[in-house]
Symmetry: C2
Subunit: 192 residues, 2 copies
Amino acid sequence: LEEIRTVGNSHWQILDRRLLVDRSPFAKIYDEDVKLTNGETITNFVRVELPPFAIVFALMEDGRVPFVRQYRLGIRAYTLELPAGHLDGEEDALIGAKRELLEETGVEAPDWQFLGKYVMDANRHCGWCYAYLATRGGQVRQPDPGDLGEFAVEFLPFDEVQHALTSGVLISGPTALCAGLALNALSRQKVE
Amino acid sequence: LEEIRTVGNSHWQILDRRLLVDRSPFAKIYDEDVKLTNGETITNFVRVELPPFAIVFALMEDGRVPFVRQYRLGIRAYTLELPAGHLDGEEDALIGAKRELLEETGVEAPDWQFLGKYVMDANRHCGWCYAYLATRGGQVRQPDPGDLGEFAVEFLPFDEVQHALTSGVLISGPTALCAGLALNALSRQKVE
């Protein structure tokens, strides 16, 4: 079984793990039994493996930013979110980000900046988010999301994105994460 | 069964849901069968209910920000994260945020600003994050996290937080989300 080595000076040992739910490629749920460094044991620690995804804050030449509005079953509501999607298998995250931006919004951009990778739940896993800032974008074709249900692209003027982020409109964690990082990066680049 | 009504002009209907894993109060996993507005049906759509949590970016009087370093089983590694924790039952999010900050870092603060609530996965749920900015904080006692395993508090100078956020050190999604929102809020308040 997997032994954990870390940047710290200790590690937890996985004694056993049991696959509870297999909804590949969307989700795999495990129970794990773990021995801590102090000798204590935890049983049935739930692990939720979700696939990695890319998300994009794309600033267009005309000063707008594409968002998508769609129904989200997890919260039984519509959301306004940055374009995002699961990476296909071993797909490179940047390639996936460009693909999702084009599919969902019809936008392409020449300049891309990686804003980091983030685990959505450090205890449970819940997937890795690869965040990107694209600049000088332009819409080159109609969106073709191919997703389930209703779906609409909305282009927000840059000033309204800042307002949306602070007014509670953007309730998706990955969207607010990526938007916060992008605004932060753009703000520093303007200063320099 | 629950019927979905949304801000949009349509809704999805939950035909059936089955509890697959019950690890209350930490996690409940469901399969849901859903009928879309176009009549199509999805079966076995996985729902991962995780408890709500509060997270705090606390700027202290001395210009530092408390972080916690701890082992995280979800990623088999140590992380540097903002103080955070699950809300107890129906606990008010602000009260929970103050409690977690005090427990994990020994810090109290007089000024609190709500930075929004965010669902960590709009498809699956994965818990709601309540993000806060606290200012003019000070350490009033020793930390008493009471959590499992090793745990250390680290106070980062404010300038280093910005660097940590852009250099890939902060790999926890909720931490990067809250830090990005807080830096954004503090930057705007400085300008005004």
